[in-house]
């Protein structure tokens, strides 16, 4: 079995936020919760970069390490999922996560947190596959249908890649190699930033 990974190619992301919207729609995420978000750095300046970020399905998930009720588990595909029936809404996973992935609906007085919600890599949850309970709590289980997460599937520039980590890495590596400046004029003659610059193409 492979290990599922997201990778957002910041040379390609155009901050259209379609991944955010697609995720909300496909999983019918509760109001006020976004499992995915696009962050733009140096917005409006030359060289601005956008990256789509959600749960990165870590190999050593900090959320799982600090969860007081031990509600996280990693599937055979390497997807980090959690059991909402066990979650007590303490918010510790949110403190620990580097990516700000865990989301909490406000439930009750004084901003008390409800049960945590996060990206499931479109892999549902501990309930039976394609059951109503699974959809209500976790959203669509596309992985069980043999499909990949919708955010990556519908990405118009194919900036957001999802799938087996090895394949994703191969695709990205190929892109990096081809992105280097070429003499034939098919790629822009001057790449102001990026991998071509990083590895000593000093002609630019």
């Amino acid at each position: 079995m492979g290990r599922m990974k997201f990778l957002c190619d910041d040379e390609r992301c155009i901050e259209c936020n379609a991944c955010v919207t697609a995720c909300k729609n496909e999983n019918e995420v509760p109001w006020g919760i976004n499992r995915r978000r696009v962050v733009t750095l140096n917005d409006g300046q030359p060289g601005e970069k956008s990256i789509s970020v959600a749960c990165m399905h870590c190999s050593d998930p900090p959320c799982a390490a600090v969860c007081p009720v031990d509600c996280f588990y990693i599937t055979e595909d390497g997807v980090v999922l959690h059991d909402k029936d066990l979650c007590i809404g303490c918010g510790y996973c949110f403190y620990a996560c580097p990516f700000g992935a865990p989301q909490f609906p406000q439930e009750g007085a004084f901003g008390a947190r409800g049960k945590m919600d996060k990206c499931t890599f479109c892999a549902g949850g501990p309930e039976e596959d394609h059951s109503e309970a699974e959809f209500q709590k976790y959203g669509r289980n596309r992985l069980a249908e043999g499909k990949l997460p919708l955010c990556a599937e519908m990405c118009s520039t194919k900036a957001l890649l999802a799938g087996d980590g090895d394949i994703v890495a191969d695709i990205f590596r190929e892109r990096v190699v081809r992105r280097v400046e070429r003499e034939d004029g098919r790629t822009p003659p001057k790449i102001p930033w990026g991998w071509g610059q990083a590895y000593g193409d000093k002609k630019s």
Binding site: V38, V39, L41, P62, D70, Y95, A96, G100, W193
Partner: protein, 341 residues
């Protein structure tokens, strides 16, 4: 391959040293090309340092791509704080048990007189026991949340642990603010009694009469009670402030504040629990006749003579007797802030 001709071994060493220093200087040859850096590396560095950008997703800290402090919090919470906290609590519990078994409780030196002296009024007792109940509730629920996964999960299944911790969290979050109010009230009503006096040093010097037979004189509060009071005030305030920050996510505090609050909350709470274990021991099984004062409000005259001699003199029940040389005269309560004249 070029080879250096060397006359002596010392010279060859010099050559090697020279070669090395030249090698170390080589980066300087490229230093003039400083305008050529990889912008991407700066960009990622900034992200790791927590630089925020713009995000169309509205919310707190949504523009922050990576927050690195969470890992620091995780390491401290799951590591030293849990370990040393557990060691401290277990160690004090063990030490008190050993002390009780070896030394036993402090008995009344003279038999009871039957004359009772009022010591704690109804309001004081109510406040004490409400706060005590809240403290124990908060301590047990808090400890469950910190150690439940390690200690309870082997005994319970995930569902049972989840419901235990669900209720622990609810009870902890709702009784916390009530505890804060009680703590403030306690600070106010017992503030004056707990100001330090010179005579309190004697109490510490003789370990509160725990070792040896002499009982150091004390006012209404002895130095041990005062130490516990100030510990409770200082760490209680710390725990209250950090607890409120954690209890109300609506105030808009960021994750770094939450992480810091959580760590200080844990450390403060463990210090308080260690203090409370000592306080509970001394106030119940450790000292004969101490508990009845806080339960019924009155203490036996001989108990008061033994433990709070100066207090009896202050309230006018006993006349100041002839004092031994070591015993300081009764002093007026001296504030921390007033300089000694």
């Amino acid at each position: 391959m070029p080879t250096g001709k060397c006359d002596t071994p010392i010279r060859s060493n010099r050559w090697i040293l020279l070669c090395w220093s030249l090698l170390l200087l080589t980066p300087l040859l490229w230093a003039g090309d400083a305008d050529w850096t990889n912008p991407r590396s700066d960009w990622w560095r900034e992200i790791r340092e927590g630089v925020s950008g713009y995000s169309a997703v509205v919310g707190q800290e949504t523009g922050e791509l990576i927050q690195a402090s969470g890992e620091f919090w995780r390491q401290l919470r799951n590591g030293p704080v849990s370990w040393f906290g557990g060691l401290a609590l277990g160690g004090v519990l063990a030490a008190l048990s050993v002390f009780y078994l070896v030394k036993g409780p402090i008995r009344l030196a003279k038999p009871r007189t039957g004359v009772m002296v009022p010591r704690w009024n109804t309001m004081e007792r109510c406040l004490h026991w409400v706060t005590a109940l809240l403290f124990i509730t908060l301590a047990l629920t808090g400890l469950s949340i910190l150690y439940g996964r390690t200690l309870l999960l082997p005994l319970l299944d995930h569902e049972a642990l989840s419901s235990v911790l669900h209720w622990s969290k609810l009870v902890h979050n709702f009784s916390g603010p009530v505890f804060v109010i009680c703590l403030l009230a306690m600070t106010l009503i017992w503030f004056k009694d707990n100001l330090w006096r010179r005579v309190d040093w004697q109490w510490f010097k003789s370990f509160g009469g725990m070792f040896g037979d002499d009982h150091p004189p004390a006012g209404r509060m002895n130095a041990g009670e005062k130490a516990w009071f100030w510990l409770l005030v200082v760490f209680g305030l710390l725990v209250s402030v950090t607890g409120m920050a954690l209890d109300f996510p609506v105030f808009g505090l960021g994750r770094e504040w939450m992480q810091l609050s959580h760590l200080f909350h844990l450390v403060g709470a463990i210090v308080l629990m260690v203090g409370a274990l000592g306080h509970i021991y001394i106030g119940s099984i450790g000292t004969e006749g101490a508990l009845e004062g806080m339960v019924r409000g009155k203490v036996d005259l001989n108990w008061a003579r033994q433990h709070h001699k100066l207090w009896l003199e202050e309230i006018g029940i006993e006349k100041p007797g002839p004092r031994e040389k070591e015993t300081s005269p009764i002093e007026r309560p001296r504030s921390f802030f007033r300089p000694t004249t």
